[in-house]
């Protein structure tokens, strides 16, 4: 396609934990609407890169730009609100109901209850979850259901970019496949950019429009 706009750039980033250098002089451009898969052996820095992208970590050298604006400690929280974040097994908050988990980002943005309800009504059919589950707690759900809730939580606030950290690794093969299909269809239906960390090359090949082997 032509005229692809870059939504996120990583410029010559170096990051180390204490003495251990994890990323050295690393650069990457991510286009709007792409699905980038970061793969590589464990310890190669792919999860670190993801955490650098939403400002949970700040690079020691180089910079990260989102929509042309540099990500800093000062604006990180602000920037994160336009980024979705989906973790392994959903990382749902155990003390909140399924519904409260789904609208977590909307709550942070002080959205009205009606608007929240409307947004969830929109999303529920997309992930194949029934209304009955909304008042349940995460520990009452199956692993697959939890991750579906995690996906809604990650995209409910219309983020421009969605970051996923090994979202399907703890699931059984069947559930994993159906969720991969789900994410793929969400990606196709929206203009959202996805960045996914995965150690499975086949998963990367199935979902990614670009694969970065680190």
């Amino acid at each position: 396609m032509n005229n692809k706009k870059t939504v996120l750039t990583v410029n010559n980033v170096t990051f180390s934990y204490d003495d251990k250098v994890v990323l050295k002089d690393f650069s990457l451009n991510i286009d709007t609407g792409s699905f980038v898969c970061l793969t590589g052996e464990s310890g190669c820095g792919k999860s670190t890169l993801l955490r650098l992208m939403n400002g949970l970590l700040i690079p020691q050298q180089g910079d990260i730009n989102i929509n042309g604006e540099q990500l800093t400690l000062a604006n990180a929280i602000d920037k994160r609100r336009s980024i979705g974040y989906i973790l392994q097994e959903g990382a749902l908050f155990p003390h909140l109901t399924v519904y409260q988990n789904m609208i977590y980002c909307l709550t942070l943005l002080n959205m009205s209850p009606q608007a929240c309800q409307q947004r969830i009504d929109e999303l529920l059919p997309l992930v194949n979850l029934s209304h009955d589950l909304l008042q349940q707690f995460p520990d009452q759900l199956s692993g697959g259901q939890r991750q579906r809730v995690g996906i809604i939580r990650g995209i409910a606030h219309h983020p421009a970019i969605v970051l996923m950290d090994e979202p399907f690794s703890a699931l059984d093969p069947e559930t994993r496949e159906s969720l991969q299909d789900l994410v793929k269809s969400i990606h196709q239906q929206t203009d959202t950019t996805f960045v996914m960390v995965t150690h499975s090359l086949s998963e990367a090949e199935k979902l990614g429009t670009a694969i970065v082997n680190m």
């Binding site: 949970l56 994160r80 980024i83 974040y85 392994q88 003390h95 977590y104």
Partner: protein, 512 residues
């Protein structure tokens, strides 16, 4: 004490206990949680606060009550400070560790989704630390309720008063009732906090995802607690206490002191319009009452000349009552209002039957017959330089056998015939109960411990009529009649109130 009196006595103690522990819990929860959160965010503060909180917990509570007396005096304030300082540890620790143990991946998710630090605290840290905080609160609740039992020692009231009164006057039912009351109370307190913990009830309510039944259950429990607190407040009505025309009468934790305190109180109530607050059984006796008189927390009590001379004024010389009075006035602005007539000093007692048979009346008589006696006394009596070692220099006793035993066992030993002479205090009820003869110290070896009323000069200036009223007691309570009254209390189980009433009736001062 009749049944109604008993009930109202215990209702008062229960109400006091509830209010003291509730107030302490309220303060300790707010401060404990706040400190726990603070040290979680400030590692520097943590390094100072945590060891301090641990250290406070290791100070014996009785010592802490005592240590605070010079700073805040006796009473509620002192009790609250001690309870709060003790209660802090479990809450601070559990708040801190509850927050520290919030799983990393949840924090990562919440931060990654754009929570501000405040939102992170409100939505994640606090609700997830809540179960840990509540289990700390449970420990603190039980501890505070139990510890409130000790508050009676410093005149703060509560169910502990029944225990101490029972201990000091050998009234076992009173000890049992007080102890059971506190246990029951602690169990109820624990159950109450447990309802907040159960099914994450409180957590759900805070997160606004509780079932209606959960909400109703918690609100019902809170309602019951609020009602109890309110009823206690109404029952005790601490705000109605008339601030003027009030005098606080204190007593040491001994049988005769409860009786003497009650006699003075009733006398004042019967003959003046001054209101009396009774602060009986203050733990530590003179050590804590004397400073409280100086600070004005207490107004008057019965003291013994020997104690005042040696322990308060630190005099080594022969006791001189005029000098004693003068020094009390000059140094402390306290007045001795004459002496009551009784002398509660060390004595040697033998069974009445033997005394009559062998015609033994004095210590010197006993010296002549001492080979026929087994003498029992507490360890201290044999050890103290001013007791047995000096005694035998003045009176060369040659007892057949000496028995060292615990102070509480002396009367048991003479009752069972294991010994036939013991050391005693001259007003001990057991002398009466066991029909013992107190021998006369004919060479005046033991110092006098004559009882007299000590009162703040400022109080006498405020209520000049008190002097005349209290002076009526001068010389009216002999050692023998005190011993009889102790017997009525400890053996016949009459109450100080009844004994005082009967005594005042003989003086012609009974209630109209």
């Amino acid at each position: 004490m009749n049944f109604i009196d008993r009930i109202s006595y215990f209702l008062t103690l229960f109400s006091e206990h509830l209010l003291i522990s509730f107030l302490a819990m309220l303060i300790v929860t707010v401060f404990g949680v706040a400190i726990g959160i603070w040290v979680f965010y400030k590692p520097k503060a943590r390094r100072i606060i945590m060891p301090t909180v641990n250290f406070l917990y290791t100070i014996p509570s009785i010592a802490m009550f005592g240590l605070l007396i010079p700073l805040v005096g006796i009473g509620l304030q002192n009790a609250l400070i001690v309870l709060v300082l003790y209660g802090l540890l479990p809450i601070v620790h559990n708040t801190y560790s509850g927050m520290k143990e919030v799983p990393y991946h949840l924090l990562d998710a919440a931060k990654g989704l754009g929570s501000t630090p405040q939102q992170l605290f409100r939505h994640i840290y606090f609700p997830l630390a809540l179960p840990s905080i509540l289990s700390g609160l449970r420990i603190t609740t039980v501890m505070v309720i139990a510890l409130t039992g000790l508050a009676a020692l410093i005149g703060a009231g509560g169910l502990g008063q029944a225990i101490f009164r029972g201990l000091n006057t050998m009234n076992t039912p009173l000890i049992v009732a007080g102890s059971l009351g506190i246990s029951l109370f602690a169990i109820l307190g624990d159950k109450f906090v447990a309802t907040l913990e159960k099914n994450n009830n409180l957590q759900r309510i805070i997160n606004r995802n509780a079932q209606p039944s959960q909400k109703h259950f918690i609100y019902l429990n809170l309602g019951i607690l609020a009602a109890l607190v309110l009823m206690s407040l109404v029952y005790i009505n601490p705000f109605s206490k008339i601030k003027d025309r009030v005098i606080t009468v204190a007593s040491k934790p001994m049988s005769e002191q409860y009786i003497l305190g009650e006699i003075m109180s009733q006398l004042i109530e019967n003959q003046t319009d001054i209101n009396v607050i009774r602060q009986f059984g203050i733990g530590g006796g003179t050590t804590n009452i004397h400073p409280a008189l100086l600070s004005g927390d207490l107004d008057m009590y019965v003291e013994y000349t020997g104690t005042a001379w040696m322990n308060v004024l630190n005099q080594q010389s022969q006791l001189n009552f005029e000098q004693l009075q003068q020094q009390y006035q000059d140094n402390y602005q306290l007045q001795w209002l004459g002496l009551l007539g009784m002398n509660n000093t060390y004595a040697i007692a033998i069974p009445q039957s033997i005394a009559t048979q062998k015609q033994i009346k004095t210590y010197s008589d006993l010296v002549r017959h001492s080979v026929a006696f087994d003498f029992g006394a507490e360890f201290e009596f044999f050890e103290r330089a001013d007791a047995y070692p000096s005694l035998i220099k003045v009176y060369p006793f040659n007892f057949a056998k000496l028995h060292e035993m615990d102070i509480s066992l002396r009367y048991k030993a003479i009752e069972e015939g294991k010994v036939n002479a013991i050391d005693a205090f001259t007003t001990d009820a057991q002398i009466e109960a066991l029909d013992l003869q107190v021998l006369v110290d004919d060479k005046h070896f033991f110092p006098d411990y004559e009882a007299g009323i000590v009162i703040r000069e400022a109080v006498l200036q405020q209520y000049p009529e008190l002097k005349t009223v209290l002076m009526q007691l001068e010389g009216k309570i002999s050692t023998k009649s005190m011993r009889k009254m102790n017997y009525q209390l400890e053996v016949l189980k009459e109450t100080p109130k009844e004994i005082a009433q009967a005594f005042l009736a003989t003086l012609g001062h009974k209630d109209e």
